[in-house]
């Protein structure tokens, strides 16, 4: 097993993944052995156990796979509720959870959406752990 040289610039770590995302690039791991897409990238494939994971840019377009609205938020997000959350199936095959910039009533399974990224707001920085402070926040916009 290798990977002994992983550091925070490597997109198979969270700092590396979010650095790329801040620049607008969504990186996924793609298993060289079975093709599984891993979001975010990581050193090993959960589907087959392989450690031959390539890091490749992923389409930011996808469709809503499932969705709901959070009416009883954690204290950190109380001011935002109710907000819509979805699992989105991306065009390159990976799935990612995120907020949707639309009311629950205006969303349906299968709706096309696109991932957008913003710098954390003051409120989001407030609830972030130290090392998360500059990590961008992603939101799905209807398209």
């Amino acid at each position: 097993m290798t990977d002994g040289d992983l550091d925070a610039t490597d997109p198979r770590t969270l700092p590396g993944f979010f650095d790329a995302l801040a620049d607008g690039e969504l990186l996924g791991g793609v298993c060289a052995d079975c093709g599984q897409v891993l979001l975010p990238p990581r050193p090993a494939c959960y589907a087959c156990g392989s450690r031959a994971v390539d890091v490749e840019p992923q389409s930011r377009k996808g469709d809503v796979f499932s969705y709901t609205a959070v009416h009883t938020p954690p204290p950190a997000f109380a001011a935002d509720a109710p907000y819509t959350v979805a699992v989105v199936e991306l065009a390159d095959g990976g799935r990612l959870l995120g907020r949707v910039a639309a009311d629950y009533a205006d969303v349906a399974i299968g709706d096309p959406v696109e991932l957008t990224v913003h710098e954390p707001t003051a409120a989001e920085r407030e609830v972030a752990l130290d090392y998360e402070t500059d990590w961008p926040v992603h939101v799905f916009e209807p398209r």
Binding site: L14, L38, L39, P40, Y46, F65, S66, Y67, T68, A69, V70, H71, T72, P73, P74, P75, A76, F77, A78, D80, P82, Y83, V85, A86, V87, V88, G94, R95, L96, L97, G98, R99, Y104, I109, A128, E132, W135, V137, H138
Partner: protein, 389 residues
Amino acid sequence: MPEPVIASVGASPLGRTDLPGRDLFSVALAEAFDELPDPADLVEAVYVGNQSESYEHQIMYGTLLAEWAGLRHVPAERVEGCAAAGALALRHAVKDVRNGEHEAVLACGVEKMTSAGTSGATDALSAAFDRAIEQRSGITAPSQYALLAKRYLHETDATEHDLAEIAVKNHANAARNPRAQFPKEIDVATVLESDPIAPPLKLFDCAPVGDGAAAVLVTTAELAADLDRPQVRVAGSGASANNIAVAERDMTDIAGARIAAETAYEEAGIDAAAVDIAEVHDAFTVCEALLAEAVGFAPAGTGYQSYQTPAERADGWTDVQLSPSGGLKARGHPIGATGLLQALEAYEQLTGAAGDRAVEGAETALLLNEGGVADAVTVGHVLTTAEAR
């Protein structure tokens, strides 16, 4: 190989209580050892299921509860796996007895969930989900399960009315359970008209926040006989982890539950059709539907019929009765104690101590306990009467 059995059980009151966690445990322990020698004269190791230190700012629960039981200098540890912590503690106890390391092990669980109100519990439970993507998007336990429910209703013939019927059935069972947090019947309208929590899930689709503790004594069959205790065999035990992020899993085929149950069935030498009663992890109504399919009770897409009588259900369903205790929904769901409360229900059912809620002729039980959303971690146990072998 020694055969592990459950030799005694006990529980604290469930719901909003004025007792901290260690005192809830003392109440549960006193019931479990009511007709036994003192714990110090029997127990060789302690495992404690406990979700979160955020309720009481207390870790080291193994050390604490061993001491409160009058035990020192025994191996003791807290087991963490969110709501599956209780069954993980039971599994450790079972393995210790099975492999001959100990003759008597205490598996217990405790949670003091009401210490910081609903928002405190919401926050503590959200720690069970992927931090990097899912927590930072504002996900909660009900909204995680709502994503499963939305998808399940999309893929099957199930309706919100069916999910409501599952809650109604579990409340009706709890009405006959003196241990239940909500021992009262409700109707479908009460569920459907309750406040939205995370659509399609409403307040009455959700298990309550509540305090509670449970204690289960696992021993060898020989020791239980020497102690003259009614015994229930732990015939099988299985566990399985799955992805931390709900987005990366199959959201309607709960694979981890299937693997945990099938492992337990295989060890017990049975199949799903042999199970008479099942305590499954109905933290939200949709769970009972999904789990009925995953563990082999119901054909795909028909698990939502769990509230119906065996004669009414689709072809391919077994005759199993689900959640005779009232389930997490109405019996109560003090997170770290839940897996042990499931074992307690099965012990009482299989030893003729279930009173008005006894399921006639029940000889084999499946316990299915989940942590995180759905099968992030799942633990299954098969329990049988001593005669069933």
